[in-house]
Subunit: 283 residues, 2 copies
């Protein structure tokens, strides 16, 4: 399978199947049309038109969050949102802006709200040969159970920034000390927009690299990762090409690592579709 | 000036002012509408419609190149193309494909054909502090005379790949030996589409990083660079923000360097527009 197919898989969003969700002048989500229909009876909270939907309720972030939560209650009851995650994400016009409201993580794809996460490539290097510490997701994870993952990854909850989320997840997921994670390098942002059975995932992944010492072995502390394995990058790339072993978006993070470290190179005919495809324009 | 304005400046392309140029089923360029009008009298070579233009002439790459060159002759006479550059770029459906024809570099923006180049960040590092070797473009350059530039940069001429172009330009422009340039790391591709007075620049920049030794000083051999200076990256970023000292697209290459090396970081509210804006989706 061409690497670009892994990227296409994460960009399955079809604008014809969705409508923008507005809050005032800000587009804050992409509602799949069947999800928009399911919101129509909550006309005191959301105004649903043919070309777009609009948040009607006003007030401060606490008030709007409370009102939207009551709608999410009904969506959970109707099984349109699988469950409360009891972790909220900020819904803001733009990265870094104060939130308009906070939304339970479980409802984020239903509304197609942009979500932000951090992904850490934990690697070792011997000359031009890289190895990556790869985690295997626990079998009881909500998303992609049993799939292979980066050494550390996690969503950015409300009020946390990227660096704070990275430090917290690195400690919980892989036993990375504060001193070690402080040596991680921010290395860019990847973007994709994907339709799932729940709605639209409009995701930004902030990627970090961390060269770990030879005597370091990650160890999971929160039960989210079943185990870790150090794999040569060449083997990882081969598995990305030939299997569905990796979580859908982790394929992208590892392809980006291979691009940034010159393991994939411009004279490869696949290169440009990979290097450019990892970044989706905002709209 | 926000860094993102440097990116916006390079993405001034307005689809309403241009039409696609087709060769068979492949879109090979973006013709500004006034340029399309200027081609109308060459109806044996180009069919100009309201919504698009089409290359009519057929044959192998040599035959088509010869026919298109005769049109370029008239464009040079009419001063719609400033001059023959006597260096040709491949015009292909897709990076790595065999060319449909070869086009003189001087005519590339007139037809809005995608052009590929290499840019090399020549840097030194002391812990977290980076310095970049910056070139000053000669005052007689066709494009951006006197502006600041990467240590090495150049367009990919027909038949050359990215790595071969990098090695050739590194030697000619900065006196980088083959042994040293072999240590450069391919680090990604940046894309932008810009309207200029000549037409549309639809550019792909393959970026490379090269950490150079302390005893290395670049020296120009082809007269294209007037001189080099080693500048702290923090000073370079400040000049990018506050002046027009750098060539328009070199701003993007340096911002990408700062993103990939964690000098710009995700918790900066500007970060995401920079990190994501450096990559324009293909269409």
């Amino acid at each position: 399978m061409p690497f670009a197919d892994r990227i296409r898989h994460c960009n399955s969003y079809d604008p014809a199947r969705a409508m923008p969700l507005w809050a005032g002048e800000h587009r804050i989500g992409w509602l799949r049309r069947d999800n928009a229909e399911a919101l129509a009876r909550h006309h005191h909270v959301f105004e649903i038109g043919h070309h777009g939907a609009r948040l009607r309720t006003t007030g401060d972030a606490d008030a709007i969050s409370h009102t939207v939560d009551r709608v999410v209650d009904t969506l959970v009851t109707a099984r349109l949102v699988p469950k409360w995650r009891n972790e909220t994400f900020d819904v803001a016009p733009h990265w870094g802006d104060p939130p308009i409201f906070r939304l339970d993580r479980g409802a984020v794809p239903f509304f197609g709200v942009r979500a932000y996460g951090v992904h850490l490539n934990g690697y070792r290097r011997d000359g031009d040969r890289y190895s990556l510490w790869i985690g295997k997701r626990a079998s009881n994870k909500q998303v992609s159970p049993g799939k292979l993952d980066n050494m550390v990854a996690g969503g950015i909850g409300n009020g946390y920034g990227a660096a704070a989320t990275l430090a917290k997840e690195a400690e919980e997921e892989a036993g990375v000390t504060a001193a070690l994670v402080a040596r991680a390098t921010a290395a860019g942002a990847l973007t994709y927009r994907m339709e799932t059975k729940l709605g639209i995932r409009d995701d930004v992944m902030f990627v970090y690299d961390l060269e770990v010492p030879e005597d370091f072995t990650p160890s999971n502390g929160d039960g989210e990762i079943a185990g870790f394995e150090l794999m040569p990058l060449a083997d990882v790339l081969e598995r990305i090409r030939t299997s569905n072993a990796f979580k859908f978006n982790v394929n992208l993070v590892i392809l980006d690592f291979a691009v940034r470290h010159g393991v994939l190179r411009p004279d490869d005919p696949e290169y440009l579709d990979v290097a450019n495809g990892l970044h989706r324009a905002f709209d």
